[in-house]
Amino acid sequence: MKLPDNNASTAITVLKGEFDLYRCQELYENIAACFEARTALRIDMSRVTRIDLACIQVLLAARCECVRSGLGFSLLNPTREYQHFLRLCGLEQALLHYDPNGCLPPPLEIPASTTLLRFQLPERQQQWHVSVRFSRHVYRDGGDIPACLQQLKTSGTLLAVRPVLSAMPVFSSLTADQCYLGFEIACDSDASRVLIENIFEPVSEDTDLIILSPDSSVREYAILLQQRGRDSLAVKQFWAQTGLLNSRQISAVDELCNSQSFNVLEAGDEFAEVAAVDLDSGDECFVEVGRHESALDLLGEMMIACSTSKLLAGRLGEKKLLENVTLIDRLASQLQESIQALQTSSVRDLFNYLARKGMEAGRELGVETSFLLHSNSLAVNGMVLNEVVELLQAAIRFLIEYSHPVPVSVPRGPGPAGIRRPVCRIRLQAHADGEYVVLGLQLVQQAVDIEVLKEDSRRAGQLDSSVEMMIAELGHLVLESMFEGARDGGHGQRIAVSDRLAAIGGSVEFMSLPGQGDRFVVRLPVSASVIDGLLIGVGENRYVIPKRHVLETVDRMSDDNQAHFYHNTVRRHGETLPLIRLREVLKVQAEPAAAECMVVVECGRHRVGLVGDFLDGEFQTASRPLGRVLSQLKSIRGATLMPDGKVAMVLDIVGLIQDMVSGQEPVIQNHPVLHVGKCVH
């Protein structure tokens, strides 16, 4: 990329080659240099062979900065492909030439006009409105947004595409490889909702997608408007410009939105909305930890490849190569630890979120609620937080609802003279306790109104009126009543609070101490992770295989006609799989079972069969971290508690495959079983 020369009036930046996610930072830095030099931004696009949305976004931000700073902006010699790309994404108008000394109006925001693509007759009978917002990391996750738009185009007719840039920060605050875009799309299509959803399936994890079908009701439009918050005006303009809704219909939607009885968001929706908001704001606390799993998978594959390379380097006697591969392996391990650490969320952000939700709950209950937040630098695994945030919200709501009202002193309206709304103060604090973070949700100089609680519980049939309440029983009753009507396990049974928390290695307790304010105390494991696992028995013990690695299970290998075994491999479905006999790896001395079982697992490109004694079903659990001592074991990555009180170790699939690769021939194809052509069981 050629940098501008010192002549500010003629400086042209020439872009060459492909500009994708990996070069967007380079583009950003070069444009930043132009801004530092206070030169107009003139970019020659004639040699750009490919450009993606991440780089276009950088150009968008640069144009906005030019307008803000009074510098000129122009993109010279755009190629046909580039123009087509801009048109597809509705960004033509957004990257128009800007001359601060010219006659064109210098809008600071994207012009209100929308790129309209009319390829068919104006008779539109099957109009869809697709409103989509992307998470910051969609580019890094490999999300190809233009491909989705292109596919949407092939499903019917793209009538209008309007980019939404309300989340775009100023150029100096922009992170080049993060996405700040959304789109409002009008299309004419006979496709079904499912088909349109499937178009965005590749980016589903990073997408907030709302689809309004041709027969959507006013209520559905109102829901969209509420959920788009600060973009609601832009959405209404879009409806008007594209003709999706006429002015009367838009007014009806507006009226419904402003109606006091219109309560769009369920608790689950509110949580989802918060989770999708920009994390940089500092208010939201939930890291989307699912993405870390794919990063860890990639690292696992990298570590396995390093093991193979070390073996080859050793055989070739290449000392330098061996050193470098060892270094890469070590760096990958460190990176793995860093990514695992990223799965944590800060307690301070959690408290900010709970306080906000608590005040909303207080307004709803007619209680003046305030919070004392004791902030600190503690962090908890994000997945663990996701499991308990509903419980914490319910706990706060409970404290607000059942706290004693403060005695009346000062007359203040609205309401009858001399009466003011009850006041509730809640202290949120946290401290570390070994491998746990202990959260305290405490009423300040207040207590739960036990008589009201008893009465409500009797009415709900939870409490026998003849039973005298003991303080110890109060805690149990509080927890039960707090989860009245909470989500169940899908079989008509309520999941006990203690069971849900125990499943992730935590606990909750309600404490009522005279003079100290009633409180909930929640203990959360700092670095436990919740996993779906498959139990496999070896000897007297059971081990957990993370389900995300599992491809297939074979309950009794001797009965399986599809498998042919030869030493440490098995031929199955036309593929030769190496076997790892867990009995050998785990050094189990007990007698082997008469019929063994096998679980085919996959990590990246590697597939192996894990052979054990028996399968024992599926199990969702919290994997507790191993201390420094046991972390030396390559085959184990965590431990968990079984319902019968025994401990099951969580197998480290990556570690097992690494060990196998390190200890065998790297080229499996030369194994004698393939030459023989026939295997003996």
Partner: protein, 169 residues
């Protein structure tokens, strides 16, 4: 000549080590732990063995929903791994301040005998010429009812760096 080769036991008294100790039997010998460091004593039930971790790690056990790593004290002291858990075998759970890693850490012993007040503790070091020798895991020795009791140096026994090296990779 033989007398010259015999190590000479130090006769140094260690008054700072006097106090109450829990005495347990390991490989036929008596070992004492500072009673302040003992959290509780439990039976060996539902222990998940970890044979791949080597002889020093006896296994892991659940204690009121907490996980405890159980160290075979005989193996740790170099006496070879204890045999299978008999009726009298116990796990001594140690105070969290002693462990610093897992929520709980326990020591597997063949039996727990008694709590004794030891008022006279000798150094367990011995000298062979100019060289002082001794097991660093033993802080001192005492005699109670004609029985020699070895006082454990728990910080050395539970040193995580050493335990880590003893765990089979």
């Amino acid at each position: 000549m033989i007398a010259d080769e015999m190590p000479e036991l130090d006769s140094e008294y260690l008054p700072g080590l006097c106090g109450r100790y829990l005495v347990a039997t390991v490989s036929g010998e008596k070992f004492a732990l500072d009673s302040e460091s003992v959290s509780e004593i439990i039976e060996c039930v539902n222990m998940t063995e970890l044979p791949m971790a080597g002889p020093v790690v006896r296994g892991v056990v659940s204690v009121r929903s907490e996980l405890a790593l159980v160290i075979d004290l005989a193996a740790r002291l170099g006496r070879g791994r204890s045999g299978s858990a008999g009726e009298q075998a116990r796990i001594i759970l140690l105070d969290a301040q002693q462990t610093g890693e897992w929520p709980l850490l326990g020591l597997f012993v063949e039996s727990v005998d008694s709590v004794l007040q030891l008022d006279s503790v000798l150094s367990a070091q011995c000298s062979r010429g100019d060289v002082r020798e001794g097991d660093p895991c033993i802080a001192g020795i005492s005699v109670s009812d004609s029985t020699v009791v070895n006082l454990l140096n728990l910080s050395k026994v539970l040193d995580s760096a050493e335990l880590t090296q003893l765990v089979v990779r």
